[in-house]
Subunit: 379 residues, 2 copies
């Protein structure tokens, strides 16, 4: 690594060592929801400390009940959802988002969480943290409820860049593999390349090239390559990591969310129709809650920016207390695992792919699903 | 229309006039399932007649119970799911698929239904029916369960071509509008262009151009343009027709189907857990069936090929009796409405878009949702 700056996750997990940076502003529900989520996170993570960025006068009274483990870092300005990334890059120095990212840049925190404007957060993160050597296009990775044993698949890119060439897709495969390993505890992830058919002659030219590149990187990258997958495979147990460009990935992600919303609306309608259905609905409540917990987007809240010198988690703009707490847990898990360093090593190994060498990723860190680590990290 | 050949839907709906062409072969469940679906369709459509294409020795005994309204047209060969479109174009003359498409080409039937290989069916359809003047890339349109008043949105292209430029997307908007009008009875459809954000500065260059082209065609095309929509809007009540390229549309379609499958699997698991849940599941059965009926892909079975001199319906390869009957009903509705001619007029009007002129589409044919016409057409 040529970058001399300290960055997130340089130290192994240790008692009292976890420090996260949190942008209090920019979410749709205001800093109150963010601080409430922070409170929920801290209650289950007695060793964690958090730097809370935003206007001091607003945040200090909100953060007071959380005690000494929260330190408010004053930033007077706020990035609005409508601000263009280019504006924020030029004039955003006084914003809570910029300040929150700088805590990771300066080595004060192992990971940063923001509910703000995705484009602005990516722009500020690229400007302040810089891309990893070998990464042309950083990616946003999301978790997707699935039928695989961990209950979640990883998909990337879901919206960092609307284009990706074959080399980018190879780097996505490697970064996604690291994420599945550190974030979900899957020792040898199965990677698939999203296409409109599983036959080798189908799809766009860059996909055929990426197919060969990824297929040739499995030994060194310690993953299995299942070849082309289709949209129907995204929530399946055929694959753990789905690789695609940011345009297709974003449409797929939002289509999946929209379908889930439609189905839950229709289910609610169905159970609201007639007294028998209502009674059934009441009796079914525990089942439905179990089910809802499994697919609740708030519990898998947190798109991870991959390919930067530091770990950045984009929480959903509309995240409530539950969503913010989930994003912080994800940040804590990745920050503690030295995630950014592992990705850097993984990408460096890709650049040196033609050469012989030993695997450079630290192997699996068994972690359970996104809900499990909360308990594990207390021990 | 410069094309001198007779084609589907040249006559208005009339008693006894509906003739459909059905490819009996190529489906995953064999001709038995196709003929069973045909029987179900004919039971509710006492005036319809069907040309059934495939090996005579196999089909004649199967079709005998259906009586004189079914005529078997002998075709000895079958297109396999693994056959490449180019092979079928060269050597497919003896196949049931080719023969079934030719019935529309020769004016013997108003529409054709096949469960076979999509790529081969598109290739044979383009070869035998030819593209409409003004259409560069034909498209496949699907119905998508949605929250709009008809219960379904139209999306295209979902897989005819992996590319689409701005002009193609305009033609898709016009053809999709005609389909929403004839197929769903929506007098003035709302059209949206699928993108990764709703802001005008976002997305690929061809999408920005298409945005302007479609926005300029609303008066002449008698539709409303809601601008860019996102994946989450596909099943929403914001839009009736979603326009996109065939790569993105295919991924979105299959992602939606995969998400629905995941959710129904998890729901079944939830209701199978513990005696209380099982009892609730039993009580909830009518609600769940109601719900399932609403989102059952078999009931919206049938991708329509748009942009050809004739109406072609691609039924799902794994379609069962219910699915085949649904595809035949859709074919009957569109064939009776002179659908191909209306599309031709619509596209011709697009080519002449810069000129003044009166609307060329025949206005709305109220038809109800995909399940309703079955009853309406009996009267």
């Amino acid at each position: 690594m040529a970058d001399p700056r300290p960055s997130s996750g340089t130290e192994p997990p240790r008692a009292g060592g976890l420090v996260l940076s949190l942008d209090a502003m920019g979410g749709d529900r205001g800093p109150e929801a963010v601080v409430a989520g922070l409170g929920r996170f801290l209650a289950k993570q007695p060793e964690a400390r958090v730097l809370l960025h935003g206007p001091e006068g607003l945040l200090t009274p909100l953060a007071r009940p959380l005690g000494e483990r929260v330190r408010v870092v004053h930033a007077p300005d706020v990035v609005a959802m409508t601000d263009k990334p280019s504006q924020v890059m030029r004039n955003g120095k006084g914003t809570s988002m910029w300040s929150a990212v700088d805590s990771v840049r300066d080595g004060e925190a192992q990971a940063v969480v923001s509910c703000g404007n995705t484009g602005a957060l990516m722009a500020v993160s690229m400007l302040r943290l810089r891309k990893l050597p070998g990464v042309n296009r950083p990616a946003i990775a999301c978790l997707w409820p699935s039928l695989n044993p961990m209950g979640f698949n990883v998909m990337l890119d879901v919206g960092a860049d609307i284009r990706a060439d074959a080399e980018d897709l190879l780097v996505y495969a490697l970064m996604g593999t690291s994420y599945a390993r550190q974030g979900l505890g899957i020792a040898r992830p199965r990677v698939g390349l999203l296409n409109v058919g599983t036959e080798e002659h189908k799809g766009r030219p860059e996909l055929k090239d990426a197919h060969d590149l990824i297929g040739g990187a499995t030994a060194k990258g310690e993953f299995d390559y299942v070849g082309f997958v289709e949209g129907g495979d995204i929530p399946s147990n055929r694959v753990d990591v789905i690789v695609t460009d940011g345009f297709t990935g974003n449409v797929a992600l939002k289509t999946g969310e929209g379908t889930a919303t439609l189905i839950s609306t229709l289910l609610r309608e169905a159970f609201g129709r007639g007294p028998l259905s209502k009674m059934a609905g009441l009796l079914a409540l525990p089942s439905l809650q179990q089910f809802r917990k499994r697919v609740d987007p708030r519990r898998v809240n947190g798109g991870v920016f991959l390919g930067l010198n530091g770990t950045v988690i984009k929480s959903h703009g509309s995240a409530d207390e539950t969503g913010v707490a989930a994003a912080l847990r994800l940040a804590g898990r990745l920050g503690a695992a030295g995630f950014a360093e592992r990705i850097a090593a993984r990408v460096a190994s890709a650049v040196a792919l033609a050469q012989d060498g030993t695997p450079m990723d630290g192997g699996a860190t068994p972690a359970g699903g996104p809900e499990a680590p909360e308990e594990q990290q207390q021990s």
